[in-house]
């Protein structure tokens, strides 16, 4: 049912991975694999939302081990509701560390050399690395673990199916999955335990259907009586939920055979299931049950290979069972996984391992601090959560306090979020477009930039600043007055154009002819005006078209639709969102809604999906060091801040300095 599972180091080295379907194994090596996308888009950009990431029909879940810098990733088809993935990740994490701790520690140390002199001595013994040998036993362990969890999930499903009538709908597809997926999986499909498993799964499915059919034939009164017997069994065994359910089934089954023979079939099946858990601890027997037929064969097979495997084999069942049990009961074995060794080491070196309890008050303080700096609450929450996630389990040096470690991690995180991932060099982008050769039949299109945003943030003012800068760089600029709504908008632009036309460029006394206004009055369709303006610019040899749009609230559906139409029909080279630095929590809402509206409508109208390409933050001079809006905005869209507007004159346009912003946000 899984598609891909991998264990890797944060530095990018994959220690172990397996693909379960041909499609997944095909993409695994390419840059579009789910793991790559996860790292690129969710982890590095810090935009992971609640531990789940979806891409290309895959759902990806992951977990970190910070002290060993490992990532465990599981990818599966998004449509499947796999309940056991979290448990699997947890169990994988615990098991893998337990089995390979020494090797992993040396491996991680080998990737953190600070100077060659220091490690020259220790490099010699670890000269030969054999990863394949080191992780040899892991395949078997993983198989068993996965099988145990899948069986468990299947049983849970079956018991669920057996009882409310509604649940029967979803029984067949998952049951089919258990039987079909193994036939897809690669390499070790053909070994016998797999076949045995298939047969078992098939049988289970048939039984499940039998039960299903049987219950349909039964009268309604029986269902009622079955339900009645539930509370009684619950009180008997309050320890395990699953166990109690199984028992409930048996009672229900016992009452059934008096009715008809189909129900008798159902009874025999149910009792066979519930027999095992009744005899001993439920989960360990489940694992044994899965590998019962193959145990001797397993042993023979693995003895041939390597000592570790055979020695590991005896323990693996116990270990898996233990881990499964732990995973079922409470969800925090990760912290204790290091054990005594870690604590002794930390005592010796004077460093300590950060725990969630250590971090909680510090992170809370950091969150308050961020919010004081005008970062939107939602964003502050997420950033701090990510920082906490990346720090739990990390060792801090003896001289470093928790606070400074968190501060450092936060600074790194903010820097990462603010650093643009695409080029912010507008000049280069314009020059590239203008110098790209076009087919002889068509004329060269000008570079068009659309300014969007809510009311009163300074779209027109900053458009004229950008215009001034472009003129200084020797471009001919056309301003399209597409704000056909607010009175005075066109006149305002006309004044700007007049002013800009009188300012000199490069010694010339005025730049007349370098800038023009394209206006068609009020009340017209903005999209049409923009289109005409671009055509006019093309015919009159303008280099750049700046399109000024009317301000609109992000909730105003008709206006957003009109904006999306403007974007879709003209397909500008850049869509710049203009937002003010004064904005607080509202920033998130504005940007997400603008971005989504643009994307939805442009996709619906047949063109390619277009979102916001960059941001212009205005009124920067009014916020002093409360520059949190910059962080909120870049976090939401993932797009860079191209300009910062910081005053009233045409020259008051700046580029964002990431280092300064980080410093301002973190300063007290």
């Amino acid at each position: 049912m899984l598609d891909h599972c991998s264990i890797s180091h944060k530095g990018g080295v994959v220690l172990w991975s397996r693909s379960f379907t041909p499609a997944a194994s095909h993409t695994a090596a390419s840059s579009t694999s789910p793991v790559n996308s996860l790292v690129r888009e969710a982890l590095i950009e810090g935009r992971s939302s609640d531990g789940k990431y979806e891409k290309d029909g895959y759902a990806v879940k992951w977990t970190f081990v910070n002290d060993l810098e490992l990532i465990f990733v599981v990818a599966y088809q998004r449509i499947l509701q796999l309940t056991y993935v979290d448990e699997l990740l947890l169990a994988l994490k615990t098991l893998f560390i337990k089995l390979f701790q020494p090797f992993l520690a040396t491996f991680v140390a080998s990737l953190h050399v600070t100077s060659s002199a220091k490690l020259a001595s220790s490099a010699a013994p670890s000269a030969s690395w054999n990863f394949r040998k080191a992780f040899e036993g892991w395949d078997g362990v993983f198989d068993k673990l996965l099988r145990g969890l899948e069986d468990k999930a299947a049983q849970e499903r079956r018991t669920r199916v057996a009882h409310p009538a509604r649940a029967t709908i979803d029984v067949t597809p998952p049951a089919e999955d258990t039987s079909t997926i193994p036939s897809h999986s690669n390499a070790d499909v053909q070994d016998e335990e797999q076949i045995a498993r298939n047969v078992q799964a098939l049988k289970n499915r048939l039984r499940g259907r039998g039960g299903h059919a049987g219950r349909r034939g039964r009268g309604r009164t029986d269902v009622g009586s079955g339900r009645d017997s539930l509370p009684g069994s619950d009180s008997e065994t309050p320890t395990s939920k699953r166990k109690s359910r199984a028992k409930a089934q048996r009672k229900w089954g016992e009452s059934a055979p008096t009715e008809n023979d189909m129900a008798l079939l159902d009874y025999s099946y149910d009792s066979s299931v519930s027999e095992d858990p009744a005899s001993s601890l439920d989960l360990s027997t489940l694992v044994d049950n899965g590998s019962l037929g193959t145990r001797t064969r397993d042993g023979l097979y693995e003895v041939k290979d390597w000592e570790f495997a055979s020695q590991g084999d005896k323990n693996t069942d116990d270990v898996i069972a233990e881990v499964l049990k732990k995973g079922g009961q409470e969800a925090k074995p990760a912290a204790s996984s290091l054990g005594a060794l870690g604590s002794i080491f930390s005592r010796l070196t004077g460093s300590k391992v950060l725990t969630e309890e250590d971090l909680k008050p510090v992170l809370e303080a950091m969150k308050q601090h961020l919010m004081k700096k005008n970062v939107a609450k939602e964003i502050a929450d997420k950033v701090c959560e990510d920082v906490g996630e990346s720090l739990v389990g990390k060792k801090v040096g003896g001289f470093q306090s928790t606070t400074s470690a968190v501060r450092q991690a936060l600074a790194n995180s903010i820097t990462r979020i603010l650093t643009p991932k695409t080029s912010t060099d507008l000049l280069l982008s314009i020059r590239t477009k203008l110098s790209t050769p076009v087919a002889a039949s068509q004329q060269k299109l000008p570079y068009s930039i659309t300014f969007v945003g809510v009311n009163g943030v300074g779209k027109s003012t900053n458009l004229s600043k950008v215009c001034f800068w472009l003129i200084q760089n020797g471009f001919r600029v056309l301003i399209a007055a597409c704000d056909t709504f607010r009175s005075g908008a066109v006149e305002q632009l006309r004044v700007h154009v007049r002013n800009l036309g009188m300012l000199g460029v490069d010694g010339a006394t005025n730049s007349k002819g370098r800038v023009e206004l394209y206006e068609r009055g009020y009340g017209k369709d903005a999209a049409g005006i923009a289109k005409e303006a671009i055509a006019y610019a093309r015919d009159n040899d303008f280099d750049v078209v700046l399109i000024d749009t009317a301000g609109r609230m992000q909730d105003n559906e008709p206006l957003m639709r009109a904006l999306a139409k403007l974007v879709a029909t003209n397909n500008p080279d850049k869509i710049i969102f203009v937002g003010e630095a004064l904005v607080g929590n509202e920033a998130v809402d504005q940007l997400t809604k603008f971005d989504r509206a643009l994307r939805d409508f442009s996709a619906a109208s047949g063109g390619q999906e277009r979102g916001i390409d960059g941001m212009l933050v205005t009124k920067w001079d009014t916020v002093d060091d409360k520059v949190g809006a910059a962080l909120s905005m870049t976090y939401v869209t993932g797009q860079p801040i191209i300009f910062v507007g910081c005053g009233q004159t045409y020259t008051d346009l700046r580029q964002l300095r990431v280092a300064n912003v980080v410093q301002a946000i973190l300063s007290d």
Partner: protein, 279 residues
């Protein structure tokens, strides 16, 4: 006569250390200290680092190269989230080098700056199979590195730069040239074109910052060339730029140990040779 009997004057030892003398002594001491510290610092700074930085865009193959060189086997990799720094022993001469593999994701690629002071050489890894599509992005990254290299303080030697045309095995060799040579030529042409575009754009552009005439040092330079001014790697002012063509194949255990020398061991031999030749 009651002549004045001269009372013996007792000179206290402290009188020898007049305030003037103390000041002079302190000054001399301070000067000696300053000289010593300057001398030490100078010695340290003239010393070249021991690190080789692997930089380049995402998916270029930096981590694969690192794993091949360090672990002698090409491990499968995914996008890196953090810097790897590992030690490799060169087969000849038993020199040890520190390889630093900096992630290529645009958000974190700036990290190479902090390793630059210790760098002996920078290897810029380029994926030769996708360069024609990603030319502009690769050039932007390379521009950053060129700029950083040229803006290093002159007191210390500039790290040597080589451009590694990686994934050559994906190119088809022709009768005239090997795949490596083809890849190198293609990368050189594309990067020179893209960097020239950037240079031209910066040369006659007015930066946003210089509008206000305050702190006008935002321009990213580093592309100055001797001669005609058009950007050519051969004429770059920052120093010589080498080119090597390499390839690795994932999954294969390239057994190139210190003792046995394969003449055609794997696709990384040109890179190894370059590492050997580093001063």
């Amino acid at each position: 006569m009651d002549g004045v009997t001269p009372t013996p004057e007792v000179l206290s030892p402290s009188t020898a250390f007049t305030p003037q003398f103390q000041i002079v002594a302190a000054l001399v001491f301070a000067v000696v200290l300053v000289i010593i510290s300057v001398f030490l610092a100078k010695r340290k700074s003239t010393q070249r680092g021991d690190a080789v930085i692997l930089a380049g865009c995402s998916d270029a193959g930096k981590t694969a190269i690192l794993s091949t060189l360090v672990y002698k086997q090409t491990l499968p990799t995914h996008t890196s989230m953090q810097t790897n720094a590992a030690l490799m022993v060169l087969p000849q001469g038993h020199k040890t080098l520190r390889l630093i593999d900096v992630p290529g994701h645009p958000r974190i690629r700036d990290q190479f700056q902090e390793y630059l002071p210790h760098a002996k050489a920078v290897a810029f890894v380029v994926d030769s199979s996708t360069i024609s599509r990603n030319g502009a992005a690769v050039a932007e990254h390379l521009h950053m590195i060129l700029n950083a290299l040229t803006s290093l303080p002159p007191s210390r030697g500039t790290p040597s730069l080589t451009i590694v045309a990686h994934k050559c095995d994906l190119m088809k060799s022709t009768a005239h040239a090997s795949a490596e040579q083809l890849a190198i030529n293609r990368i050189r042409t594309i990067l020179e074109r893209e960097l020239e575009k950037r240079r031209a754009s910066h040369a006659n552009g007015v930066g946003v910052e210089s509008l206000g005439a305050e702190d006008a040092d935002s321009q990213v330079g580093g592309l100055e060339c001797t001669g005609s001014g058009e950007f050519k790697f051969a004429e770059w002012e920052g120093g010589e730029v080498g080119f090597v063509g390499t390839s690795v194949s994932v999954g294969k255990e390239a057994v190139v140990s210190a003792d046995e020398k394969h003449p055609q061991g794997d696709g990384l031999s040109p890179l190894r040779e370059w590492l050997e030749d580093l001063p």
